[in-house]
Every structure is written in C-alpha cells, then in structure tokens.
Point group: C2
Chain length 350, copies 2
C-alpha cells in the first residue's frame, strides 16, 4: 500500500480512528457544513496558527510532536483563562508528499493530548499547501465564577509563576530551541533532554489554571508564550509597543492608576541545570536567558493574596507556584536590581 | 511612510480601524489570550482555510476581494445551517513583503461583509508565511427551532436551489474562474463581469438560510461549494467516496432506507447568459458545466413541502427558490434523463 493520503475521505478515516465521534458537547456528528455544539452561557475562545518554518521545523520535530504542540499551545491559552476545555476545530494544511503514516502520527500526537483533557475534535478543514501548517480554534467554560485575564495589577501585588516542575523551567524551552537549531535533534536530545522536551512537547497547565480560577479568582493571569521580558509588561497592562492596553481597549476599570513596574529576583540556582549548562557552553548569562525565554508555556500571575499560593499548590498535584517578585509603581522592569528591556539587561553588569 | 506592517501592534491598529471593538456578543475586549463570549444554548461552528494558489490567486484577486471571500465562504456554511451569525476569529498568514495598504484592503473587504451581517471579529492570530492565507472560525445561533443539516431525504422530495439572482447562476462562478485563469482579470471582467464577480465576491445567502430554517425546518440543506454533481450525493446522505454517510457517523435515524437518487431537469435557457457564452466560446455543454459548477455558494435543499417555497421567497426579498428536480430511489443522479457522475455525463449525447 502506498504511504500517502489518497482522498479527503481517506484523511477522515484517519481522523475518526484517532478522535471519538460522539461526546456530550456535540449535538451532531462530524461531517456536516457546521458542528452543532451545546454551550454554557459564557465561553472563552482562542485561535492560533502553528506553521512549518515559522513555529516548528520538520528537521527536528517528529510528526507526533507537531500534532501535540499545535494543540498544546492552544490549550495553554485556555489555561491562562482558568478555563475547562470543551472542544476544538483543527484546520490542516498538508503538503502533497506528506506520507500517510506521518499524518497518522500527527493526529496521534494531537489526539493523545486531547484525550488527556477529554477534549473532542468537533470539525475543521483540510487543504493542500506548500508547507505543513495547523490552525486550531479552541474554547472552554469557566472553572470558577469568572475567566482570568491580564491587567488589574496594583503596586505591592506578588508576581508568581505556576510551573509543572522544579527547579523553575523558565528559559528551558529557549535552551531547547537553540540546542536543537545548533546541534540537531540527536545531539541536542542527548545533551539537553529536558530542554528539548520543553520545546518539542510542551505541557499546557490546564489544572493549574483551573485551581487558580477556583481559589483566587482575582488573580491576573496569562501564559508565557513570548518570554517573561515581553509578557510581563502585558500582564501589567502594557502591550509590547509600550502603549497602555487601556488606550487600545477603552477599558477604564483596567487602566493602571500609576505607571506600573516590577522588581524580579531570580538566582542561577533557582534555574534548571540544563539551562545553566547551555549558558556555560555558550557564554550567556542564565538569568538573562531565563527572563528572555520564549515558548515557556508556564503561567504568570499577579495577586494581592500571596498566602493563597500554598492552597492552590495543594489543590492539584504536580505543579508549583513560585514567587518571582513584586509589582511596583516604578514604570520599569528590574531584574536583580538591574533594568531589563525586551532585549535583555540594559546596563548589564555580569 | 513605508508601506509595510512594522509590528504586530501596527497590524492591530489596522484591525481596530476596520472592526468595532465592542459588541453585545463579546464579554471582554480583544487583546487577551482568549475572547470571552456570551453564548446561546446551542451554536453551530465552522472553520475553513482560504489559501493563496489553492483557493485564490493574487494574479487576479484584489486584496479587498480576498478579505471578502475568505469570510463569505465561511458565512455560507452558516447559511446552510439556517443560522444567525454571531462572531468569528480570523487567523492571517502574511508574507513579509505584503504592503500595509494591501493588508488594509484585505481587512476592509472582510469588515464590510462582516458589518453587513452585524458580525464581530472576536480574535485571531497573525503569523508570517511564504504565501498569503486565512483561516476563519465562525459560529452562529439558531434562527428557527433547530439547525438545518444534510440527509434525511426521501423519494418524492422536491430538490431546489436558493439563489440571489435570476437566471439561475449555477455554474457561473465556474465560468468566472476559467475565464480569469485563461484571460486574466482585465479581459475576463470585460467579457464576463457577472461570472467573475461570482468567483471573486460571492454573496453568502444568510437571509435565505434563515428564512428556510424558520418556515421549513424539516428541509435538508447544504451550500454548494464543490458543485451540484459532488454536493447532491452528500445532501442525499452519500459522501464523495461513495460511502454512506451514516456508516461514517453511525446515525441510524439519518440512514436512507433505500438507495437514493435524483432526477434533475435543467435547460440552457434557465442558465445565465455569461455561462452560455463561455460554453459557446469553449465548445462546452452549458448544462454539464452548470452541474459540475464549483464555488457556487448557492443553497441546495430537499423538502417534502414544496408549497412552502413561495412563502420562503416572500419572507426575504432578493432571493429565489428554484425547483430543479426530485429525489427518487434509483441510486443514480440523472440530469435531463442522462446519467451524471462527478466528472459529467457518463453517456453524453450532446
């Protein structure tokens, strides 16, 4: 048998093999113009593109990992909202020479992650294209009495990161990416297996988001997709062009009364050994690389009730809330006493 | 000023200029990880890819038309479900050299169609890529007491097409596509303006779908995206590989009790003059080309209450329900007494 997709129907056979056809959320079966879905009063919804040579490379990603990560980065957006995932649509752009077995591996990587979250595939689209690409839309319901959002931080609030392992894996996916790019999959996996896994198979922190939404619904929360240095200003209510988000959204209740800043404290020994080893080999500063980060898919929160963090940790096994600093009114991000911008320490003193 | 997108924020400025920030459907403003949306008890949801050199060519599409059509083909899926559109997410893949003014035209084409349907843009994603591409997810609520679907047809049912103009524009978008491909935009638009407009700026039949859902909720309905020859077997409950849809979906209530077929009657004089002229120039049979069609974005329905079609037409100005034939138990599609397959007349007798 030739290892290729012979028709759209052939593709649908693979989809049906990997994803259940019926779930309580779906009022109809896949295969019509639209999916019919039962809905709660309010949902949160997110869409993300995951494209070859922009977000991943087939040189060091397996197809299983591509399928997993495409869904994982979308689930991470729901985790940031403190939401319980309800369903997703998958749109797949497939180059003509893609082997059928590779497509099956991609669907397998996606369906195993979906099954771990009881998440039905409700529909989507398939098209040929020059490069592999995925576009996923995902939605969920409130775990607590509201969805969590960015903004609303005040001076004195405690900044924390929810993570699924210790030591703090901040910057670890960055170390994985650079190792994979420079060394190739085999060598990078031997030298830095945890770092590579962070980049290839991120673990969306759904349970952490749900616990925070239930126990501390006033927390400002977002997921770290672009690195702490770029995402922290967004949590504080500033977008990456330096404009106040409230100017963009006309939302006076979220307008910071003062020019917010933050003081972050991080030591090398709080960071993952593989990040430290990569920085040693490359002549880089570990704290700077951890703060620059990128694709961490940890949760970054701000709360005025830091005493709740222990309760939140106890709610769900397997994740940790690590305090990294405090919000202040300085209008600057300081890391270990030095000013930090989106490109690193501005006055870097070693 | 250089005519290019300088940052993600620059793109968001264009988006905000074209699409309203606040609508009743949205519980939060754009700009967070997820959109928060108010929802009815049931929605229908659809996603479609719209990709350069697969679904459109920049050689003869303006950017305004690309933005319009990307949304229109998704709206057509909601029309087929008899749904009232509620909102959509847009994911855009943008080649680096795309001029800023072109992006603005694309957004303008999309936002004008969205505004015509009171449809808010709730979120999405932006990424670089080699070729221009869009992925839209769209959802809507019931206009009547249920959503319309394919299947459930019985011998004796009347087959009709809901269209927005007379004569029946079936196959007209096909004539437009082939004219644009062979003659280029300027010549094709001079020679066959209606046909080109059908391909470049399709009009989704939302009001027709809503009227059918309200007045004839037992109608089987779908939109004609792949042409009558490929879509009619799907309406009857057979997918394009010839497998019974109910085998795929395990839905016994929709299983045809007999092997359904259809008898279609179409004459040249029922078809658009530009289709007739194109067929004359190209030595093609107009009825065959109309049935092969493709990207018609008309609605194909089957009902056992054909007397309702006049009432439906009266409900909303500007569209027509044209009877094209009857469902039977022959297991074959016959057009004017000749067997018709997905490639045209099997025994074509001129």
């Amino acid at each position: 048998m030739v290892d290729r997709i012979t028709s759209e129907n052939d593709f649908l056979v693979l989809v049906d093999r990997c994803f259940d056809l019926t779930t309580p959320h779906q009022l109809s079966l896949r295969g019509d113009d639209c999916a019919e879905l039962a809905m709660p009063e309010a949902i949160c919804l997110s869409s993300d593109l995951f494209l070859e040579d922009v977000h991943f490379r087939t040189a060091y990603f397996s197809f299983y990992e591509i399928g997993h990560k495409a869904l994982a980065v979308n689930l991470s957006d729901l985790a940031a909202a403190g939401a319980v995932p309800l369903g997703f649509n998958m749109n797949l752009i497939l180059p003509a020479p893609t082997p059928r077995s590779a497509v099956e591996q991609l669907l397998r990587g996606m369906s195993e992650l979906a099954a771990a979250h009881n998440l039905p595939l409700t529909g989507g689209d398939l098209s040929q294209g020059q490069k592999l690409g995925l576009c996923i839309s995902i939605w969920g319901k409130q775990a607590g009495r509201k969805f969590l959002r960015r903004g609303g931080c005040r001076p004195g609030d405690t900044l924390f990161i929810a993570a699924d392992s210790r030591p703090l894996p901040l910057g670890l996916a960055r170390a994985g990416l650079y190792s994979l790019e420079s060394l190739g999959r085999g060598n990078a996996l031997s030298l830095a297996p945890d770092a590579c896994k962070r980049h290839l198979l991120p673990n969306p922190l759904i349970r952490a988001g749900i616990a925070i939404a239930k126990l501390a619904p006033e927390t400002a929360l977002m997921d770290l997709s672009d690195g702490l240095a770029r995402d922290l200003p967004r949590l504080l209510g500033y977008n990456h062009a330096g404009l106040s988000l409230n100017k963009r959204t006309h939302s006076p209740e979220h307008a910071p009364a003062v020019s917010l800043g933050a003081e972050i404290a991080l030591t090398d020994c709080a960071l993952h050994p593989e990040l430290l080893a990569w920085c040693r080999r490359s002549g880089l500063n570990p704290v700077e690389q951890a703060v620059l980060g990128g694709e961490d898919y940890l949760l970054l929160g701000s709360t005025d009730k830091p005493e709740l963090l222990k309760t939140i940790e106890a709610e769900a096994d397997g994740f940790y809330c690590l305090v990294i600093g405090k919000v202040n009114d300085s209008g600057m991000i300081m890391v270990n006493g030095n000013e930090f911008s989106q490109t690193g320490f501005d006055h870097f003193s070693g």
